[in-house]
Subunit: 354 residues, 2 copies
């Protein structure tokens, strides 16, 4: 079977890291007998917006909705275009309209990447953050009243649906069940956020009954962030709402050294729509155009994409190659104390794939 | 002038750390010619609830509302009483009804306290988290519809008022202006939480115009938590909403080694109502009754209380004594690698006060 992949480099360093991601994907595909076909798209970028006055063509769903997956670089350029136009016009649109209700990110301390945490070694930190990706705190319900007076107020609703909460919890419990430690941690704040968060807890408890082999616990988000720093070895699968998952999946990678190498999947598990795989880092306008961006986040996202497509071995060969590359100082990019540029680092990973 | 302090030990280790806090306060008061009068109250505790079926007497406001400050231990005992009864029946009630709209917490790496962050030394990390303490994400507006069906959903509003946002920002900008670095960082998430957070940003921008000597920046909460770990030296005053401030003021102390020594003030800056000073840690049922709790959080909270009352020198003498105590391993409690019990540690600090 041939997989059709929509490739969207987007903005800034997105354009620089994607060619390296593709290089490594092609190498791994060839070695593992996987057939990948890439279609390239220039929308979801500032360039496209400048020409067309919108982030994506009207028929964007027809153009990319039938692909097996979307391989994405980065979007956004706050100095040129407001976030609510660029992000809500592409990234968040994909999540909503392609019902990518799982945002999945590994937190893993890799060889050669210095951790900001004292005395942590590769192997000590290795867990997944599972984030609800369509509802919760990122709602569009709310508004402002009495503008420009002392009575002015603004409200925004957090929305949790039974369907939305249960399906992300199910995904997280199944992931936990599939792992050796079988341990799930739920992020809550039911002692302060007194309506939605107790509901979240209630659904976690109900779902846990269906997965008796999974040990689970919960922490309030405040102490949970503290425990990411103090006890990152405690975690196996961590599940949180849209906002809590967002926070934890930046904090986690920071605890393992850098968000510069972190990958992510925006996943529709049922496969009704394509899933999006993208590095966690953004378009980084400050370093764009210099050829120094770290391509590992994009490359690792490609590996996650292969695994999602069912090509586990090809995916694993890339992750292994990343580990071997990062272990060599000279093959790392500047942000990790090396001296390789984007291309050299990408080529190094491709060479390591077997 | 004599200051009248209401003392509420509360639950668990709250009862064990408060005597040490009082010991140190009395010593510092005597040495600095400050006159403190303490009134002790047994409400806001599980014991009180067991006897009376409520956390506080009906006339609690009459009993403690005229004091110059409230010195608080800890409340909550989830195994015996649900959080929404214990916390919302005391701690959060104080914040709301005494209009303690500022929650203030120092983040400071102290000598002798091992930081979980690699290569950070005392002096490297020294900032304040200023948290909005009355509104925001901790609203009581929301509800559930279609219970126990597939259509079930739950909503909860985040509420930001002009008055509420502006006054916390004013407090934070004034604090920044009073410090050598004059630097303020605002916690936002306006790229995802698209109604309330852009409003927060808007009010920050407006307030910043009134404080031209303050350099300010803003980060989305996800990358901000990452920067607490990667670049804690970047911060001077960090201001956030009720939820973001809650998260940052647990994560910050964790980055400096432990939330076990962190103090906090729940402050009504106008002095219309008493402010509450309490350690960040909770009642810790797991170690309660053993006499091993670290009293430094309570003692440091006492120092914040003195500073709030205008007794800066007496307050500073306590903070200095804490630093000198922590520097000696044998004077520290077990959680910090020492072998002192709660009382021995408290006495050591009292002895160091000058
Ligand atoms: C106990 C809880 C409701 C409280 C809060 O979230 O405000 C606590 O975490 C704090 O920071 O004082
Ligand atoms: C860019 C922003 C809207 C987005 C989010 O908060 O979801 C990003 O932080 C992410 O995690 O993908």
């Amino acid at each position: 079977k041939q997989y059709r992949i929509a490739v969207i480099p987007g903005d800034g360093i997105g354009k620089e890291v994607m060619p390296e991601g593709l290089r490594v994907l092609e190498t791994a595909a060839k070695k593992h007998g996987v057939s990948l076909h890439f279609d390239h798209f220039d929308f979801s970028s500032w360039d496209y917006y400048e020409k067309h006055g919108q982030m994506m063509p009207d028929d964007w769903k027809d153009q990319i909705g039938k692909h097996d997956a979307i391989y994405f670089g980065a979007v956004g350029w706050p100095a040129k275009i407001p976030d609510h136009v660029s992000l809500w016009g592409s990234l968040i649109k994909f999540r909503r309209e392609f019902d990518q209700y799982v945002n999945l990110r590994p937190v893993r301390l890799m060889p050669g990447v210095p951790s900001p945490l004292a005395n942590r070694k590769p192997g000590d930190i290795d867990f997944w953050v599972v984030r609800e990706n369509t509802e919760g705190e990122y709602s569009s319900v709310g508004g402002r009243m009495f503008p420009d007076t002392d009575r002015e107020f603004v409200t925004q609703q957090t929305v949790m649906t039974r369907i939305g909460v249960d399906r992300i919890l199910k995904f997280a419990f199944e992931l936990a069940q599939s792992r050796p430690k079988k341990h799930l941690t739920s992020a809550t704040k039911s002692n302060g956020i007194s309506i939605t968060m107790p509901y979240w807890d209630e659904r976690v408890e109900a779902m846990a009954k269906k997965y008796p082999s999974v040990k689970w616990d919960k922490y309030h988000i405040d102490i949970l962030t503290a425990n990411f720093v103090l006890h990152p070895d405690w975690f196996d699968v961590v599940v949180g709402s849209n906002l809590f998952g967002d926070i934890l999946s930046d904090l986690g990678p920071a605890c393992t050294g850098t968000i510069g190498i972190a990958p992510s999947g925006n996943i529709n598990p049922e496969g009704n729509f394509p899933s999006v795989f993208e590095p966690v880092h953004g378009s980084a306008p400050d370093i764009a155009g210099q050829g120094i961006a770290n391509p590992i986040g994009a490359i690792w996202s490609g590996a996650m994409m292969l695994e999602h497509l069912g090509e586990k071995e090809a995916g694993k060969s890339i992750v292994d190659a990343i580990e071997r590359t990062l272990a060599e100082r000279t093959l790392r990019t500047k942000d990790l104390g090396g001296n390789a540029d984007t291309t050299a680092c990408g080529k190094a990973v491709a060479d390591m794939v077997d």
